[in-house]
């Protein structure tokens, strides 16, 4: 029992990981949710649902600040906001321009990685989301299904489609470059 207590107080800031994330990132998360949902109450619902998911998977959280955790939280709140958006207005198409608003492609300087990023960002938001969650944040299909409110098999299918779409993007870019090079020659 003592070791359990000691693990609780191992935190130098004296607050739990969940609280630290909440205090630091809740406004950022609400802003992202507001961009998608345009409605204050719904945005708060998205932030709330996000923190419930984070709490349920708190063992995954190794750090409470930095680029990686920020990216993870953004992805979660976006996913929850998009779920709510679809629930609230199933008949309306999702405004992809709103969701894409936070992209910062101007910063991307490394050419090779830029090419990959370009291909990623040309994908629909839902494909970007599942690829990032699997490859970068290393969530399991089961965790992703829970986050995205999908059945397990549908999450698998979406991942497969995302991979196919990404490869198609990369191949198209390569073909375009080859044809330009041929013309120059």
């Amino acid at each position: 029992m003592l070791s359990f207590y000691l693990s609780l107080i191992d935190d130098p800031d004296g607050k739990s990981k969940l609280e630290q994330l909440y205090i630091r990132y809740r406004k950022m998360m609400k802003k992202i949710a507001l961009n998608i949902l345009k409605e204050d109450t719904l945005a708060e619902d998205a932030v709330h649902d996000s923190f419930v998911f984070i709490a349920q998977n708190i063992d995954r959280i190794k750090e409470t600040e930095g680029a990686r955790i920020e990216s993870y939280l953004k992805r979660i709140v976006k996913s929850k906001a998009i779920n709510l958006y679809h629930q609230e207005s199933k008949s309306l198409p999702l405004d992809e321009t709103v969701i894409s608003k936070e992209k910062n492609t101007d910063f991307y300087k490394n050419l090779d990685v830029e090419r990959i990023l370009s291909a990623i960002e040309n994908l629909p938001e839902q494909y970007q989301s599942i690829l990032e969650l699997v490859v970068y944040h290393q969530l399991s299909i089961r965790q992703i299904a829970s986050l995205l409110d999908l059945r397990y098999d549908n999450a698998q299918k979406r991942l497969k489609r995302a991979k196919t779409a990404l490869l198609k993007q990369l191949n198209e870019e390569e073909n375009n470059e080859s044809s330009i090079a041929t013309k120059v020659v």
């Binding site: 406004k27 990023l117 991979k163």
Partner: protein, 227 residues
């Protein structure tokens, strides 16, 4: 997806997150506010998921409790065994299973209160001589203090009593009732560790450590005196 592509994708996502991170404007969103209803809901999230006991014992204990309800058993004042007993306390019921003790609350607790009540830290007024505070943790749902004299340690925790059941790890432990300022609590002895558990309508209090049992009880007593 082959490994090379996965690595490239990882690098791309890593780069994107780093570059977005450099743009820190979103952390200065003074205009973003939250409704009281939201704060209340989040308070419940913290109370539930950030509970002192939850991560360690919650899932395992619930699973065991659900599947072996008939196998339960137990005793207070004797060594832990698979024979059982159910003992009412002033405001909680403790059931000792083979590997843990379940505490259920009776009467009105924080559960009855709908509005979010932030925890008001209450610390023990007595700490044995030679002990110093080495760690303090005050959050939405709990207050933990750790004291040490470089040889032994005493950990005090106070958490909101929201009426949910609590599970104490009592495997290979001996438990007994203790009477502290006319309030009954539980004292658990596990090898050289002593734990005293108390509760009132608003909070649970636990004092645990490797100090002498009398000292642990004195610390627990000082919480009630102060409260």
């Amino acid at each position: 997806m082959n490994r090379a592509l996965r690595l490239k994708l990882y690098e791309a996502f890593e780069l994107r997150s780093q570059l977005e991170f450099q743009n820190q404007d979103h952390l200065n969103e003074e205009s973003i506010t939250f409704s009281p209803e939201f704060e209340q809901r989040m308070g419940k999230v913290f109370r539930y998921y950030d509970h002192f006991w939850y991560h360690q014992f919650g899932n395992q204990a619930k699973r065991i409790a659900a599947t072996i309800i008939l196998a339960i058993l137990f005793t207070f004042g004797t060594t832990m065994s698979v024979e059982a007993l159910r003992e009412p306390f002033l405001n909680f019921i403790a059931e000792t299973f083979e590997k843990f003790t379940k505490i259920s609350f009776t009467g009105e607790t924080g559960t009855e209160i709908e509005e979010f009540i932030p925890l008001e830290p209450i610390d023990p007024s007595y700490i044995p001589e030679g002990y110093e505070l080495i760690s303090s943790n005050i959050g939405f749902s709990g207050n933990t203090k750790t004291y040490s004299n470089n040889k032994n340690i005493i950990i005090y925790s106070q958490s909101l009593n929201d009426g949910t059941q609590i599970y104490l790890d009592t495997e290979d432990a001996y438990s007994e009732k203790v009477n502290i300022n006319e309030i009954e609590g539980i004292c658990i002895t596990e090898k050289n560790e002593i734990t005293v558990f108390l509760a009132d309508e608003l909070y649970h209090y636990t004092v645990t450590g490797t100090a002498e049992k009398d000292e642990i009880i004195k610390v627990a007593k000082s919480i009630l005196e102060k409260n």
